[in-house]
Symmetry: C2
Subunit: 656 residues, 2 copies
Amino acid sequence: MKTSKLLSLAVAGAFLASCGNGNNSNGNKSGAMGASDAASRVYVAPGEYDEYYAFLSGGFSGQLATYGLPSGRLLKVIPVFSQDPEKGYGYNEETKPLLQTTHGFIPWDDTHHPDLSQTNGEVDGRWIFINANNTPRVARISLKTFETEETLELPNAAGNHSSTFVTQNTEYIVGGTRFSVPIPQEDVSIKDYKGKFKGVISFVKINPDSGAMNLEFQILMPGFNYDLAHSGKGNSHGWVFFTTYNTEEANTLLEVEASQNDYDYIAAVNWKVAEDYIKQGKFTEMKAPHYHNTYSDETHTGKSEVVETVKILDASQLPGLVYLLPTPKSPHGVDVDPTGEYIIGNGKLSSDLTVHSFSKMLKAIENKAFDGEKYGIPTIKMDAVVAGVVKSTGLGPLHTEFDDKGNAYTTFFISSEVIKWKVGTWEVLDRKPTYYAPGHLMIPGGDSRKPFGKYLVAMNKITKDRFLPTGPELCQSAQLFDISGDKMELLLDFPTIGEPHYAQAIPASKIKDQQTKIYPLKDNHHPYVTRTDADAKVVRDGNNVHVYMTCIRSHFSPDNIEGIKVGDTVYFHVTNVEQDWDIPHGFGVLGAQNAELLIMPGQTETLVWKPTKVGVWPFYCTDFCSALHQEMQGYVRVSAANANTPLKWSLGGDEE
Amino acid sequence: MKTSKLLSLAVAGAFLASCGNGNNSNGNKSGAMGASDAASRVYVAPGEYDEYYAFLSGGFSGQLATYGLPSGRLLKVIPVFSQDPEKGYGYNEETKPLLQTTHGFIPWDDTHHPDLSQTNGEVDGRWIFINANNTPRVARISLKTFETEETLELPNAAGNHSSTFVTQNTEYIVGGTRFSVPIPQEDVSIKDYKGKFKGVISFVKINPDSGAMNLEFQILMPGFNYDLAHSGKGNSHGWVFFTTYNTEEANTLLEVEASQNDYDYIAAVNWKVAEDYIKQGKFTEMKAPHYHNTYSDETHTGKSEVVETVKILDASQLPGLVYLLPTPKSPHGVDVDPTGEYIIGNGKLSSDLTVHSFSKMLKAIENKAFDGEKYGIPTIKMDAVVAGVVKSTGLGPLHTEFDDKGNAYTTFFISSEVIKWKVGTWEVLDRKPTYYAPGHLMIPGGDSRKPFGKYLVAMNKITKDRFLPTGPELCQSAQLFDISGDKMELLLDFPTIGEPHYAQAIPASKIKDQQTKIYPLKDNHHPYVTRTDADAKVVRDGNNVHVYMTCIRSHFSPDNIEGIKVGDTVYFHVTNVEQDWDIPHGFGVLGAQNAELLIMPGQTETLVWKPTKVGVWPFYCTDFCSALHQEMQGYVRVSAANANTPLKWSLGGDEE
């Protein structure tokens, strides 16, 4: 216990010293430029557009938030792995399947690392992917609709943290286990961890046309914690690099026990070799049921399917598949520079960055410059792979991104700063404080072959006195820097939804004009679509009642329904028959346990209601849609279970 | 049907003509001032504070969002009537009771009208109230913790729209039914609406010390729709004014049927008279079970209680309680000027505003200047009560607020503009376009006796081309105007969470320094609190297992747990024993159906987990808390239901 507390205090103390220890210091603008100049550089005048779309993960919120840069304005929270009452996601019948797992329906998860699809190593604006950390999954979001189209469970993984980093042509997204577990799961003592618990790295194949995801194979790895990843590019295309920690394989009090070794490893995984092994049949087909959930814009419905098995490649048995690069000290982020030559290990308990050289690594492998192995995986000699060390004098380096001028930028969590350094010379060029405790940072395209080196966003875990206080729970925040000049200039603090864990950004011009504005009603193939008021109807099927309903400014058809009984399950299938841009309608019914819908033009959504009380209950449009929005309402009459009220309904005022 | 469609098209057409019909016009800055001047006026430099807290209702999101003004930055979404995966609200056991109703657990509702508590007609920064529209409820939020402390169901109401407007000393908040229904509810034909369906207006008494809410009485009203409300002030203190529509008492196709009359009414309710009637016993005690839910900062737990009855006053039987003021044309908002003399009816199907005089109303009542009655309630002659008409030439007036210089500002939904006019002369002074279709507007203190007339926020239902597009679903938005000069100046567009329905704002100086920063651990009386690592334990009680857990940078105690079985219900009661500002911890366990917790310093929260699979499952901190956050993890071993694995756990590394 003593060791643990000392270490905690040391780390906490270092942090507190750097962040003002809670003093309401307010107005600390070290690193900020002249206010009026900064103001004009972040101001986006009414009606004008931001220059970049930025996608910040929501961390523990489980979502992905879209911001405009440089304004920092929140444009849309895209629901992914959590329910969202703003949008009905995870409440309506159509999107519930996206949250289905082998552990049941999971209403809330923890997203960390979004990654934009790439073509030839450049962001291409087709999709963005993101991971679920808690119940391991990955998701694909369309950048035409800004909706989640697919979620995929990753079996055998536990804590899908080092995910979803894409390869250079979006051949794959990856997922590395953060917590090793028995594979397959079994009832063993936690003390048997060492040797018995294993990690897996998942390679999820992306269909180049549709974006459809498939768990192509998993690589069985030593029982380390796999923390972050990034893919090779250029010459290093074909490899993915994963940081590891807890190579001590401790199972308790990790804050002490997993910080004993002077170095852990970056695992270099050659997925082209993996593909060869798969072709050669050198895999085990393992029973590992996992959910593959999809949402179709054509049927406007989600679907859950279970995939039964996964192909396993055993890294300890398959030469050339994985190498381990020794890296001080509990490396957190691993980042590959735009050329693909340098692999930066951010040793979080160090002040230095260790930079590996890809070409040295290849040579070391060729020359077998190994100094041992871990569970059959060769460990490369440190001298044989390290290209240089960045002597930062910062504390707690976590992540590095790159600009288009050969510079790198690294966040330091404990000393709360961003440090700019030169790739190749390892020289520190600039440093600016951040407020406080930055985790990731993001430069648009900053993990691709073509960074857009104008802005840098530092994502801070702690804000304390930076914004007006809001009780014990404060926002986390992002800080926008201008990096177009020699020195970084702090422009703006903006609060974020949840934890701004990692982020991606893309020039608005690349995706602005591909946006879907409405769903064509003629292409709506929802099984319960109702295309015109005249087609509206109510159909009883035993205790299930299906209401085929339309809505348009400013009425529902039908708007009077009778003959519903306590004990029924009522399915309101509501089609928004508007075909105008930005004219959604809502639907709410008093006492509905799933409450509400929010339906885009041309879309059908379904609300399930189990009425519990006899009476006449109103429903109404919940999204202010027209000058007669308040009149957009109706009633459902609910009779006792044994009543004989006949089923009837109105159609635009004419009772059937 | 034809009438309906024609009217729809007319309304839609007028709107579309005004909003560019979807052209990506981008850069339309009519009404905007010079960009660099505006930029400097809305820019809040890093580390500096906004001048106002603004609270914008989330509309269909069911929440209340806190923004800073003038920056438009979103500081915190306060969850109220919907679950919130960012915060665990409605997922952890402690807050679930707040969403309990007689219709069951409702995970998502529709909030409309926040109102700040007032003392002597001025905002006092103690609480903010807000309504649930769908399943009728009101809520109280503490402005020390920014947490929802209380929710109260309103029986007999249906669509609690004209709510929560406070009286001058926060004696009451009110709630008027939007949809009339049978009272008490019964199984009747919807066609029997006229005469059979009734409205109620609820008066919720506020305890002046604790803020505790109690449904003091309800007033039985004619079967109209009660749309908006505002309280009297100064001389008119003691009265609350409600707009009505559908005084036609139609039950279908309301867009046509409820727009037939040339005027509807503003119902003037004298709650001091109501109090006298209550004292005199002239009420009916009606069986009307409704939930009263509270959350205590002392026990850190929520509690649901059912109140069985409510006192009913029948407006048709009790003279002097209610008067009806005829008001053209389907009036939507009703707003009382800072002096309390003028009551503005915003007739949404008109271009004029009808202004009633409170003193004329009193005189008319004294002189019995009535021209009839509705269900026993006197209707005052229009001439006897109207003080003036604002001839705006705008279309679709919805809401009016006031500055501190005798001016009023009204939103026009259809013509998309804000019009400034002079109270008393009714002269139009200025008009500025808004983008697009504003509903409410808000001036800090603008519905109190002391407005702060510097900023005006117009809340727009439709944005179309105003921001970078995000698929079919676009944000709604707020527009900030400077109203300190003669002419309004548009400063900023900022997107909002959900529908920014109505809003309140208060100078930051009034509440900034009263904020709770941590919950003192010594005052935590949660039934399952664990104050030190040494007190951590696991207790089995049949199939229920209670884990008494602590968390602190950077470990959980216990961090290894064995002896859990499939079929158990595991309660993780996690206490964050940190006593530092802004050091929350999260807690997630793989596959937990309620997924996660987010625990503030000194707080205890409970996650329920029903493990379904044998194996060893990790848990971890979901909120990046320290340099060793990634090491803050543990494992739970789950055995088969019939296994005899003994219950044991670690304490900071030392196995029990």
